[in-house]
């Protein structure tokens, strides 16, 4: 391999100096170790790119020079000397991507070299409080590499830097009252990944020294995690229930638990490989101060001590271990596994320990903690349970006489409940459950069903079946067979409210599902419920699976009526009109929601429209409007329908009274109720335009009630030309209100829809017809940028989707929109700061994407927009449209694309339209216009410089055509 000449070095420097793309490419392609020395002498491979921090974000840029070293080493292992020399001269860096490259290099070096790199790495990593990317597992791999290369000292040092918890002032974040989280350089999964990679080779290379090292780290964790560390009590039964793998080990993210598993595996492997005897390893763990080490020793005896019964027997008969609850799991499982194989004398000793009973003083303290009540027999009962647990643990090897004793103890106190765990966790609650399935209920006779619902009482156990669960199951049964249950309805009237509610809920589900039933019966049951007192929910009510009186049932009735009046099929028969209205009228008197302003609505905690469908009177008003449409629907079928329909509310005077009554703030000042008028206003105009026009001032009054209606109207209704006329002045005042709109975030606010209404009214000519053309201008004048954006976005997005659905957009609409766009652009261009228009302008991307505008107009629009703002949305659709319109003016299309590309540094954004870019530039480079060809190739150069690859094709096409 020859060294580059001075001229070649000089040429390289010149090429590298041409910019980031050239320099990155140079180091991507450099594959000869002969260049490293000369370039290093010229200052390369010396200054890693630093991490970039933006707010809370941290980015680790690629450093092409370090990548280059890894690649050269992969191809030329003999280059290890020169690369080592370079790496050892690197300054410390906070760029973890560079550190990854350093580790990758070290992994390709012989152990002696890798150890020197590891030493450098340790110094760099030591002061760090967090390591990112894949640094943990990679470092773990390097530790393994060092260990297998007979560099145990270096391996231990690097592993220590990586794994040892950080010393902190005070303690870490509490995870419980007694245990704190211990800070480490690596996040949980990375820590685990590093452990998996390094522990086995480390302990294999260093033997007990490695176990000692890992156990020291575990000790550090324990000491730092305990609020009050007192050996040997490490609370390990709570963070590592079993030393072996077990489903009770629930602290999956506890690093102490991960360390225990690693130490356990390493110790087992050490014994199995014969690198240390079981006795040595057991004694090693028993010599440590925390319970977890003792537990690991007991675990090892169980899994590997079958030939060491003397050692096992000695431990099983040790009273200290026998009564040590912190070691309970490993001790008891060892007892179960080994009792039958220890000597008869040792078995007798164990039985004697059991007969002697627990250390009562200790247990008594615990029992008192658990149950303060006085119980003279409790202590004896607990003692016998304790003996049952131990005898049960060795039951396979008990003599017959002791077996009888065990059975007696079980009869007294029940089966043991996982005594091998000091703390046993189980169970997850999934919601209210029912004592019967829906099919069970459906199979009962009426008398049986009513009898069961009347007599069934829930148990006292936690998570047992509840009335709410039964109610839900009953509703499902009703929904399945509404006809049968409607017949039975009258039998339900004396049941508890939650079961009566279930009937109405089930019938509503049935209506939604297109099933019919006997409405008369259902309405009779409803009437009987409405005769009961309508009491509001007490502020002290706490749900305990029982309904708070009849209020929820009343709401269910209102919801059923609304559903029934809406349904085309199986709707309420018209002969029941009087009964239906009577119920609605009664429900509309319900005090829920309060007749005055509601605190939660006033505070803005609850939206009035949302409140309306969650209250009895709100639902009743919804049902009332549906009643109007239901009646109207019936009138349409009658003779002289036109005449009757033109009478509007005259043909349903009962409803007029109800609507007028609840529109009177002296009677009903609930914003939730008023919002119902707003939500249904276009339909009220349909039913009776005269009434609606006269009531509009009241409905949309300028107070809080009217605002609730107006907001709901804007959000729930689209614009209608016939509705605009009675609301002209309200629209005008809403536009003027924009002047006082605070905050820039308009999403989900009603004002967002004001612009949508106005622009649609403009497109339909309604503003023009009403002499209100200036209203839209005024809207754009007063609306903040984001609100203007939603309006501009809405209209073009609608056009785009209309085209996608195959709908044609009329020329009239297009011609109305184009001047609007030009007007908005002219205003932005004339503005002092186009930044004040950035959101609005970005939304013109949808205009570009919408296929209804002709090509040349679109290109001019986009060029003007991109001059003002660098970004339009949605970029990928705009790019696609650029390809589509490029026939009209290829040069302009490429120019627009170049501006789009320069408008963002986000690789993902540009990445989303790479194929469109290639297609466009390919068209450009193959065009007959030399200027366009050069333009295309310039953009291709720039795309490549921006690290978007695949554009060399354009360059090749350009050159082949030129030749």
């Amino acid at each position: 391999m020859t060294s580059p000449t001075d001229a070649q070095i000089k040429k390289a420097l010149e090429l590298i100096g041409r910019g980031g793309a050239s320099s990155a490419y140079f180091f991507e392609k450099l594959n000869s170790p002969a260049w490293i020395g000369p370039l290093h002498a010229k200052g390369f491979f010396r200054s890693p790119a630093p991490a970039r921090r933006t707010g809370d974000l941290i980015e680790f840029p690629v450093w092409p020079e370090s990548r280059c070293l890894v690649r050269i080493l992969e191809a030329h292992p003999a280059a290890a000397d020169v690369v080592l020399e370079v790496l050892l001269k690197l300054p410390s860096t906070d760029n973890d991507r560079v550190l990854e490259d350093v580790i990758d290099s070290a992994l390709l070096m012989p152990g002696s070299h890798a150890a020197r790199v590891a030493s450098w790495l340790g110094r760099v990593v030591e002061p760090r409080t967090a390591l990112y990317l894949n640094l943990g597992p990679k470092t773990g791999r390097l530790v393994g590499h060092l260990a297998t290369s007979q560099r145990g000292g270096g391996a231990l040092a690097l592993a220590g830097t990586l794994l040892t918890p950080m010393r902190t002032e005070g303690t870490g974040r509490p995870t419980s009252r007694l245990i704190f989280e211990v800070p480490t350089k690596l996040r949980g999964f990375d820590y685990e990944g590093a452990l998996e990679l390094l522990v086995a080779p480390l302990v294999e290379a260093t033997g007990l020294r490695g176990l000692d090292f890992l156990s020291d780290i575990l000790d550090r964790f324990i000491e730092q995690s305990l609020s009050s560390p007192h050996p040997p009590n490490d609370l390990s039964y709570s963070w590592r229930a079993a030393v072996e793998e077990h489903e009770q080990n629930r602290s999956a993210i506890d690093l102490k638990s991960k360390l225990v598993a690693s130490i356990r595996d390493a110790a087992e492997a050490l014994v199995e490989a014969g690198d240390a005897s079981l006795g040595e390893v057991v004694e090693f763990f028993e010599g440590r101060k925390w319970s977890i080490s003792q537990r690991i020793a007991l675990h090892l005896l169980r899994v590997a001590g079958s030939g060491e019964m003397e050692m096992v027997g000695k431990r099983l008969t040790d009273p200290g271990l026998f009564h040590e609850s912190g070691c309970r799991h490993e001790f008891m499982t060892l007892m179960t596994a080994s009792f039958g194989r220890v000597s008869a004398a040792e078995q007798a000793s164990v039985l004697a320990l059991i007969d002697a009973g627990p250390h009562v003083a200790h247990l008594r303290r615990r029992w008192v903690d658990e149950d303060e009540s006085e119980d003279p027999h409790r202590e004896e009962r607990r003692r016998r349970c304790w003996q049952r647990d131990w005898l049960h643990a060795i039951s396979d090897n008990l003599p017959a006489s002791r077996q009888e004793e065990l059975q007696k103890l079980i009869r007294e106190g029940g089966d043991p409940n996982h005594p091998e765990f000091p703390v046993f966790s189980s169970g997850v609650w999934h919601g209210p459950t029912s004592p019967k399935e829906a099919t069970d209920l459906a199979g009962m006779s009426a008398a049986e069903l009513v009898g069961f619902l009347s007599s069934w009482a829930p148990g006292e156990e936690l998570r047992s079946s509840s009335p709410e669960g039964l109610s839900r199951t009953l509703a499902a049964a009703v929904a399945e067979d509404p006809e049968r249950f409607s017949v039975l309805a009258r039998d339900f009237r004396d049941l508890e409210p939650e079961y009566v509610r279930a009937v109405f809920d089930g019938l509503r589900q049935a209506v939604s599902g297109g099933k019919s039933f006997r409405w008369e019966e259902a309405l009779m049951l409803a009437a009987s419920v409405l005769r009961k007192p309508a009491e509001p929910i007490s502020p002290y009510f706490r749900w305990n699976d029982r309904d708070p009186g009849w209020i929820w049932t009343r709401k269910s009735i209102a919801a059923l009526l609304g559903e029934g009046l809406r349904a085309e099929e199986c709707s309420v028969p018209h002969r029941l009109r009087a009964d239906v209205f009577s119920l609605i009228d009664e429900l509309a008197k319900d005090p829920n929601p309060p007749f005055g302003p509601h605190e939660s609505v006033e505070k803005g905690e609850r939206d009035p429209a949302e409140e309306s469908i969650n209250t009895v009177r709100g639902e009743a008003l919804h049902a009332a409007v549906r009643y109007a449409l239901w009646v109207r629907h019936e009138l349409e079928r009658e003779e002289d329908a036109a005449g009757k329909l033109s009478g509007g509310l005259d043909s349903m005077p009962e409803l007029r009274i109800l609507l007028d009554r609840h529109l009177d703030p002296a009677h009903d000042a609930s914003p939730a109720v008023r919002s119902v008028y707003g939500q249904w206003f276009p339909w009220l105009v349909l039913v009776d335009p005269g009434w609606a026009a006269a009531a509009s001032e009241k409905v949309f009054s300028r107070d809080d009630l009217g605002t609730a209606a107006w907001s709901t109207y804007l959000r729930f209704c689209r614009a209608y030309t016939n509705v605009y006329l009675p609301l002209r002045s309200r629209y005008a005042s809403a536009v003027e209100d924009l002047a006082s709109l605070s905050g820039s975030d308009v999403y989900e606010k009603p004002e967002q829809h004001l612009g949508e209404h106005l622009i649609m009214l403009h497109l339909w000519g309604a503003l023009e017809a009403g002499g209100d053309v200036a209203l839209l201008d005024r809207f754009f004048e007063l609306a903040p940028d984001q609100l203007r954006m939603t309006t501009i976005d809405f209209v073009a997005r609608s056009l785009y989707h209309a085209a996608e659905d195959g709908q044609e957009v009329s020329d009239e609409i297009v011609e109305r929109l184009k001047p609007l766009a030009m007007k908005r652009l002219a205003e932005a261009e004339a503005a002092k700061s186009p930044a004040a228009y950035s959101h609005e302008l970005s939304a013109f991307g949808w205009w570009v994407a919408a296929p209804c505008f002709e090509e040349c107009w679109v290109l001019d629009l986009l060029l003007r927009v991109l001059r003002l703002t660098r970004r339009v949305m949605p970029d990928h659709l705009v790019a696609g449209r650029l390809v589509a319109v490029s026939d009209a003016n290829l040069s302009k299309a490429i120019e627009c694309f170049a501006m789009l590309m320069r408008g963002t540094d986000d690789r993902w954004v540009i990445g989303s339209f790479i194929s469109e870019a290639l297609e466009l530039l390919e068209r450009g480079v193959q065009s007959g216009d030399d200027g366009v060809r050069q333009q295309a190739v310039r953009v291709a150069h720039e795309m490549e410089a921006r690290s978007h690859h695949g554009f060399r094709k354009i360059w090749d096409l350009y050159n082949s055509d030129a030749n």
Partner: protein, 294 residues
């Protein structure tokens, strides 16, 4: 001009200070470009003195890329531009067209500099050209929308706020006559705190040109991967150097055509490499170089 001072051959026996400056500035220039300038200066009778022949017509390598012939309206007063200058002018025009209507036109500024530089009848042409070139560098971040530190225009307001603290401090017990003495009292403490805040703000929002240069160059470079740090530092130093040179020349410090043209050439190189990168041609050159070197 330089001939007058000794009539030396280019590069021979220049003052040491100039050599250092030239080394810093000419980071992008190549030997063959110097030679080409000699040829051009002779063949096309560029208005250069003998020292000026040592200079560069920027971006000759760009001429190797298939660039369009000079286009535009025929204008007798227009200087004869090299292909690279045409390319740069075209690139600036393109960026101007993509900018806001009321923004300064970079292409006009650049072309104006070249015109006035070529106008031998104008006795002040060097200073006027330098003025335009400095303006060009100043306006680049704004027109090209490059990331810059914010420079709020209200430094005077901030200074006045500081001044009010200063006035209070002067009226405090620590200040008597023209002397300051004693323990720090309340008014002086208030001033010191205000001064601390002021300078923190100032340092953050008013970086030096040296601090700003890397940001500008990185913004100009389309690549998301910056060049090696020491290369970037050298470029930034050269950028600041030529800016200072144009600024000094603008203020009628002694200016020689050779130096001005040299700085102009460096500026042209900087801009053309970044605004019109010839990425694939560069890659081909790199491939050739690495394959030749084995």
């Amino acid at each position: 001009m330089a001939e007058k001072r000794g009539g030396q051959r280019p590069g021979a026996g220049r003052p040491r200070r100039e050599d250092a400056r030239r080394r810093r500035v000419a980071v992008l220039l190549r030997d063959e470009e110097f030679a080409e300038l000699d040829r051009l200066a002779t063949a096309e009778a560029l208005p250069l003195g003998s020292v000026a022949r040592d200079l560069v017509v920027g971006g000759l390598r760009h001429a190797a890329v298939r660039l369009p012939p000079p286009t535009g309206p025929s204008d007798r007063a227009r200087p004869r531009l090299q292909a690279a200058q045409e390319a740069l002018l075209d690139a600036l025009r393109e960026r101007d067209a993509q900018g806001l209507p009321d923004q300064p036109r970079l292409a006009h500024i650049y072309l104006g500099a070249l015109r006035v530089l070529g106008d031998q009848r104008n006795p002040d042409r060097l200073h006027l050209a330098a003025y335009n070139l400095r303006e060009l560098m100043d306006f680049l971040p704004r027109v090209l929308n490059l990331p810059t530190a914010s420079r709020p225009p209200h430094i005077a307001t901030k200074a006045r706020q500081l001044e009010s603290h200063w006035a209070k401090a002067r009226s405090g017990d620590c200040h008597e006559g023209a002397e300051w003495s004693g323990e720090i009292d309340g008014p002086l403490r208030g001033f010191l705190r205000a001064a601390d805040t002021f300078f923190s703000w100032f340092n953050e929002d008013f970086p030096t040109r040296r601090e700003e240069a890397p940001r500008t160059l990185r913004g100009l470079d389309p690549s998301p991967t910056p060049p090696p740090a020491h290369v970037e530092e050298r470029h930034a130093a050269a950028w600041v150097e030529i800016y200072r040179y144009f600024n000094a020349a603008t203020h009628h410090k002694r200016t020689e055509e050779r130096e001005l043209r040299e700085s102009l050439a460096v500026l042209e190189h900087f801009l053309l490499d970044r605004l019109r990168p010839s990425t694939f041609a560069d890659q081909d050159e790199i491939d050739r170089l690495l394959s030749e070197s084995g």
